[in-house]
């Protein structure tokens, strides 16, 4: 495409189907202790 370059395709819908196992890290335990950036967390299934 000339006008649009896709950095990342749609991954969220597929993740809804197989997600929710709850084994991943609690976001607040990582470094922040106040804010809630969650998109930098790892999916346990991809580790």
């Amino acid at each position: 495409m000339k006008h649009i370059k896709t950095l990342c395709g749609g991954v969220l819908k597929a993740s809804a189907a197989k997600g929710g196992c709850g084994e991943c890290q609690t976001s607040c335990q990582s470094a922040c202790k106040t804010s809630c950036t969650v998109a930098n967390q790892k999916c346990e299934k991809s580790v």
Binding site: M1, L7, L12, K13, A16, Q29, S30, K33, C36, C43
Partner: protein
């Protein structure tokens, strides 16, 4: 919902529901901004009139690309997750503990949410027995979840390090019996971080959070010793040694910025220049009347600082001085599932704090607030009913989050911040939200520039 923004010469479109991220030309940006909903196959005539500064054939060409992405479910995708959110956490399990092994501290930080370590109660430390009860509690409440996190927290946890060691041994013993995997972490100001403690931490702790605010003048303005002196000269060599001993990985130096250092980019870079590779510096949490909290009128400066930081990170990625800034780290392809992204930090349901007395609170920020006391590890009186308000809090039950493009990046914000400012865990703290949105934009901008 599609969010568009531009930083310098880079225009980006985020398709919120699918998670797709696109770098777009100026024409495509202007076209996307004309539509609230998915456009049809044929380019409407009114678009040529509105965008008459562009040639018609260019508009048609860009419009067709926009339409192709819509057809591929990568733009203007329907948000169909609300029902999933309603089904999540009907029976919440506890899987993470913030273990307050010390309600005492050897620093007296000006912005401490814990009332300089004691959480406005008596200065005390946790007994081994209470800590073991807390570990028993999380094992019992975690159901089939295997991974359990315990953060040794305070006050200052190194003031009760013998108990940290004993509880570490107990966790290792119990995980074998109950088929659990304990991930232990520790958050410290570094004052007591000697070689022996560091060796133990490096052997047993999967992450280590080291508190320092940045430049000496900034750090020492807020982070003072009991006698009122700055802490920088005491902690800096210890923190450097700790980072080095962990091979510059699996740790964070974690700073706080306030409206007294709105030029916080300099503090992040100071930490990077001192050799730290894993850095998290974030805005203070404080009431509107405290004097140091970020105000609405400060936001333009804060945004500018985040953009400056993004540019500096891009430059350092190229010249070999790379470091990670926690809030700019976004995994676009292998990040958490949408269920995690809609349900937030888990405070009050998946994540609780336990005090030296064994009292259980929704998280460390709620400790001492009697209205949020959930039970005690000795009493076996913990009730999931009391925690339902937290279990129900997700980006769809928070009206402002439901309308926000960044909801799947921040997951609804900090409950404690929301409660502190608005008296309601479902009413997000607006200034915090504004800063979070800017951080996400800068993170996506970095991704876009790195992909060029």
């Amino acid at each position: 919902m599609v969010h568009t923004f531009k930083i310098k010469d880079t225009a980006i479109a985020v398709d919120v529901a699918s998670g797709a991220v696109h770098v777009v030309s100026d024409i495509a940006l202007d076209i996307i901004r004309q539509f609230d909903e998915k456009p049809g196959e044929d380019c409407p005539d009114w678009l040529f009139e509105r965008l008459d500064s562009y040639p018609m054939d260019e508009i048609k060409e860009a419009y067709d690309e926009v339409y192709q992405l819509c057809k591929a479910n990568l733009l203007y995708t329907d948000d169909a997750y609300a029902q999933i959110a309603a089904e999540t956490r009907k029976q919440p399990l506890v899987k993470a503990l913030c273990l307050h092994v010390s309600h005492d501290c050897n620093l007296r930080c000006g912005y401490c949410f814990a009332g300089t370590g004691n959480f406005c109660g008596e200065r005390c430390i946790m007994s081994e027995e209470t800590g073991k009860k807390a570990i028993d509690f999380v094992i019992k409440r975690s159901g089939k979840r295997r991974n359990i996190e315990i953060d040794f927290f305070g006050g200052e946890p190194l003031m009760n390090f013998e108990v940290v060691k004993k509880l570490t041994a107990y966790a290792r013993e119990q995980e074998k019996i109950h088929n659990k995997n304990f991930r232990l972490t520790l958050t410290t100001n570094g004052v007591l971080l000697d070689e022996d403690k560091l060796d133990f931490i490096n052997e047993h702790m999967s992450n280590l959070v080291l508190s320092i605010d940045g430049r000496k003048s900034v750090n020492d303005h807020m982070r003072k010793t009991v006698s009122g002196e700055g802490s920088y000269d005491v902690i800096m060599p210890r923190l450097k040694r700790a980072a080095q001993s962990r091979n510059q990985d699996n740790y964070y130096v974690r700073g706080t910025f306030t409206r007294h250092n709105l030029d916080f980019c300099a503090d992040v870079l100071h930490l990077a220049n001192e050799g730290f590779k894993q850095i998290s510096v974030e805005p203070v949490v404080g009431g509107a009347d405290c004097g140091y909290a970020i105000r609405e009128e400060d936001l333009p400066l804060v945004y500018d600082q985040y953009e400056q930081l993004a540019e500096e990170i891009l430059q350092r990625n190229q010249d070999g001085r790379r470091f990670n800034f926690f809030h700019f780290m976004i995994d676009l392809t292998q990040g958490p599932c949408v269920i995690k992204r809609m349900s937030g930090c888990g405070a009050g349901c998946e994540y609780v704090a336990v005090t030296p007395e064994g009292d259980i609170y929704p998280c460390h920020q709620f400790v001492g607030n009697d209205g949020f006391l959930l039970g005690n590890v000795y009493a076996d009186d913990y009730s999931a009913e009391k925690t339902q308000m937290f279990a129900d809090a997700n980006v769809y039950t928070k009206p402002k989050c439901a309308e926000c493009w960044a909801k799947f990046y921040c997951s609804g914000g900090c409950h404690a911040n929301a409660y502190q400012f608005g008296g309601d865990i479902k009413a997000p703290y607006e200034i915090g939200c504004a800063m979070e949105r800017k951080r996400v934009e800068c993170a996506l901008y970095i991704k876009a520039k790195n992909a060029e």
